[in-house]
Amino acid sequence: MSDHDINLTVNGRKVARRVPARRTLLDFLRADLGLTGTHAGCEHGVCGACTVMIDGVAMRSCLTFAVQMDGHAVTTVEGVAHEDGSFHPVQQALHDNHGLQCGFCTPGIVMSLLSMTEGEQKASRAEILDAMSGHICRCTGYQGLHKAIAQLTEANHD
């Protein structure tokens, strides 16, 4: 099994590490960098709990190898709130609408919502609703999530 040097950016900070080829990005973030906000749900690509943003796009860290991240920028849930600790609008919307209970699925949901509501091309409400079917939440029955999406897309409703 080979080890590889990788250089990447995680939540805006430069990181240089040596990783075994088989180490997933999920394990790398959690165990090597101590960023335990990204959660191991199914580890087989179904639940979305492990979602992070890679170069601004939501991806599943359980299906990504750390070694693939050389030269890329990763954002995790720890990197979402504003500098002063206040909520990003995505976090605020989930809070306002009781969009979480146990909180285990929540980081992944935050990252997917973030990737669809930030940047130039904002997704429509329908697109977001559809995309969020890639996240399993066993607690909430998705009621708060639907309301949060409505709140986030209020400005540009379609």
Binding site: T36, T38, H98, Q101, C102, L129, G141
Partner: protein
């Protein structure tokens, strides 16, 4: 003592934003897998791929792998344990009673060996090197196979685990004289509780023979007792800490064999060892709920009045159930008549051991009684040519308290009101016209009703919870409780109760729980108990603390305690001068400047109350759903879902609705998609969450609520609300699908109603 003073409650009853959200939304929650200990090793567990086989195990090659610290088999660790019992301490019978399988495996997923290594990757590599020789035996995978086969579990002489029969006076006669007898049957799909966080443990043997365990558990106190008893340790040498828990739904009440194997490894190696379940393990070996076959017959007179019932249940306990199989079938029999006037009954309950994963608690573990009753009630209405709502109205109990046939007395419920309100909210009458119109266009809409009385805060034989509330030197309040949270929001709701009683803000109150060293024994989370029991303890303890605060304040204000009020963080006297003193000043005096206290007064400002609730606190609900079913594809879409529920005083309506919604969507999953099916050889159908279908956001209708409030006779007036959604969800959807497809004369006797089952169950052309 416990009456709120002064102003009406300010926080209880409000949808106060959750205090726990901040850490969860920013990635700062701390679940078991997030903890690291110095020197911590990682475990992986080898599981049987066969349902039943004799085995010989050779782990020598695995032990040689670099990075592997140990590989333990039954021969290495089983002697460390007493024969396993249940976490509830019941008398049995039990299935597999050893931690690792010895000479025979008993289901797919049965733990055989545990490998301990520097990291999980190496531990899993080690599993590949363990050589197991399997000599396959005939598996007993179903209830029908269990009946006709010799014992399939080593050490047992029969597959029958439990049997109870009863016929109350007049029941046989009622069936003989009935104008009509209606019978329905349903076999449930086996549910994997599927919390998003798997089971997990870090076992850490610390100094002086003590053991510290971080455990994903609903009830760390029960876990502590169980671990100590199983390992022959002194109970107060075991500390269990359960941090944030990523959902549990009943599954995390027990302490499973996997946990015990991890503890044994840590004790032998004298190192902290972490084991985290992965999802294929959860599906195979994490315990299953609802594995039962149900039948109900209702005897009716010519006017459609119910005369008697005959309730039958057979429970598939699997190989290593967390509690003796069949125990809950007695509760099911006792409450299965629900909200209806049914004077007498018969019951036949059985439970079996099989070569399948052991049963575990799952959200409303007795839910089968409501499922089969509500299905049979609809069938009876059809048989009588009556509308299902009218039929329910005719039979529902309206006089409370009401004594069930087996003697349980139910009070403080409102089934008729919830029925009426649900029917009104969903627009039942108008729907029938819409349904007829849709049918003319070839679309099949249906409406389903589910009516239920739910026993909550079940605490026969005690079941206490304790709250210890104290005022810090700053005047802020800390409360330690024996409740727990797997998303239940108790950090918010308990703070609401205490804040109201103490005249402070919710943010002034900090709630702590989950560490067995920090408070006496209690019941944790389970059985929809926290609002009632922990809430009751918090309410009463706060009242006791208030009395102490007034006594101390009276000393400083040179007045009498009577007539003092707590407002805005201060004790305020009466009269035009309204003298006052802050809780901060009192906290400082009581905790630090103790020489200023009246002579003989105990220092500190702490009150503690251990609350014993009534054996049952009953909630009730009526659900109504509209679905569209496609007789061409067998697909079902839930279009509307109404819940009219009476959970007494709502501590926090958003939390209440959140609990209901989560349960309802699980109930819909139970009805339509979720199933871990076993073939005759005992192979489970779902290896991953690609095969076990959990509801996703696009499956979830917007739930519409009606809240009816009949307060319970407990300190908060609340009732439990954690399980009702899951209990009533499945029959409501089932009845709606039956109604939608009525032109096809459907017959369904197996959940979930997958497209192929729906197509197979249509008996007429329509």
């Amino acid at each position: 003592m416990t009456e709120p003073l002064g102003a009406a409650p300010r926080f209880v009853g409000q949808s106060v934003g959750r205090k726990e959200n901040k850490r969860f939304l920013t990635g700062r929650g701390r679940y078991v897998d997030d903890f690291m200990e110095a020197g911590m090793l990682h475990a992986a567990i080898l599981r049987s791929p066969l349902a039943r086989a004799n085995i010989t195990v050779d782990a020598s090659a695995a032990r040689e792998l670099p990075g592997v610290w140990a590989v333990y088999t039954a021969a290495d660790i089983n002697d460390m344990f007493e024969p396993l019992v249940s976490v509830f301490g019941d008398a049995g019978p039990f299935g597999v009673r050893t931690v690792l399988a010895e000479t025979q495996v008993s289901y797919v997923g049965d733990p055989i060996a545990i490998a301990i290594a520097d990291d999980r990757y190496i531990a899993e590599d080690a599993l590949e090197l363990i050589d197991v020789d399997y000599d396959p035996l005939d598996a007993v995978a179903s209830i029908s196979a269990a009946k006709s086969s010799p014992s399939c579990i080593p050490g047992r002489d029969t597959n029958l685990a439990f049997e109870m029969s009863l016929a109350l006076p007049g029941s046989k006669e009622a069936f003989e004289s009935a104008a009509q007898v209606v019978t329905a049957r349903i076999a449930q799909g086996r549910i994997s509780p599927s919390p998003m966080e798997g089971r997990g443990i870090i076992s850490n043997p610390i100094m002086d023979g003590k053991l510290e365990v971080r455990l994903s558990s609903q009830n760390p106190h029960a876990a502590k007792s169980f671990i100590a008893r199983s390992l022959r340790l002194q109970e107060n040498h075991v500390r269990v800490m359960s941090p944030d828990i990523g959902g549990a739904f009943g599954q995390k009440f027990g302490v499973n064999r996997d946990f015990l194997a991890t503890i044994a490894a840590s004790l032998k190696l004298r190192r902290p060892v972490k084991w985290i379940e992965d999802k294929p393990e959860a599906l195979q070996a994490g315990g299953h709920g609802r594995a039962e076959e149900l039948e109900l017959s209702i005897a009716l007179d010519a006017s459609g009045q119910m005369l008697a019932t005959h309730f039958k249940v057979e429970d598939n306990g699997g190989a290593d159930p967390v509690s003796p199989p069949g125990g809950l079938t007695q509760l099911m029999a006792m409450i299965h008549t629900g909200a209806y006037n049914i004077p007498t009954m018969m019951a036949d309950c059985k439970a079996w051991f099989t070569n399948t994963c052991g049963s575990t608690a799952y959200r409303g573990p007795w839910a089968g009684e409501t499922l089969i009753r509500e299905i049979t009630v609809d069938k009876a209405a059809r048989a009588m040519g009556m509308d299902p709502v009218e039929f329910r109205r005719r039979n529902v109990v309206t006089q409370w308290p009401h004594k069930l046939p087996m003697g349980l007395i139910i009070d403080d419920v409102s089934p008729l009101e919830t029925l009426d309100r649900a029917v009104e909210k969903i627009g039942y009458a108008a729907f029938r016209a819409e349904q007829a119109k849709a049918r003319a266009e070839g679309r099949y809409l249906g409406i389903g009703i589910g009516l239920c009385i739910e026993p909550t805060a079940i605490s026969p034989g005690g079941g206490t919870d304790t709250a210890e509330v104290r005022i810090e030197t700053t005047g802020k309040i800390t409360a330690v409780l024996t409740c727990h949270s797997q998303g239940h929001s108790v950090e918010t709701t308990m703070a609401q109760i205490i804040a109201d009683e103490m005249g402070v803000g919710v943010d002034d109150v900090t709630i702590a729980f989950g560490d067995t060293d920090s408070i006496t024994s209690g019941s944790g989370a389970g059985g929809s108990r926290q609002a009632v029991v922990a809430g009751g303890a918090a309410h009463i303890a706060s009242g006791l603390l208030r009395d102490k605060v007034f006594k101390l304040a009276a000393h400083f204000l040179q007045t009498e305690p009577e007539g003092l009020k707590l407002e805005g963080g201060s004790v305020v006297g009466s009269g035009p001068s309204a003298p006052s003193i802050t809780l901060a000043a009192l906290g400082k005096a009581a905790n630090v400047a103790t020489l200023t206290l009246p002579e003989g007064m105990e220092a500190g400002l702490t009150a503690r109350y251990c609350y014993t609730p009534p054996p049952f606190t009953f909630a009730n609900a009526c659900h109504a759903a509209i679905v569209e079913a496609d007789p061409g594809t067998g697909l079902v879409k839930v279009l509307r879902y109404v819940v009219a529920e009476d959970c007494g005083v709502m501590l926090n309506p958003a939390v209440v609705e959140g609990q209901i919604a989560g349960g309802v969507i699980q109930g819909i999953g139970n009805a339509l998609w979720e199933e871990q099916h076993y073939d005759e050889a005992g192979n489970p159908s779902a290896g991953t969450y690609k095969d076990y279908i959990l509801p996703v956001s696009t499956d979830a209708p917007a739930i519409e609520y009606v809240h009816v409030c009949t307060p319970s006779k407990t300190p908060t007036g609340a009732k439990g609300v954690g399980e009702g959604g899951a209990i009533v969800g499945a029959p409501t959807i089932f009845n709606a699908v039956m109604d939608a497809l009525a032109p096809f004369d459907p017959e369904f006797e197996q959940l979930p109603l997958t497209p192929s089952r729906i197509l197979a169950g249509l008996r007429a052309k329509g």
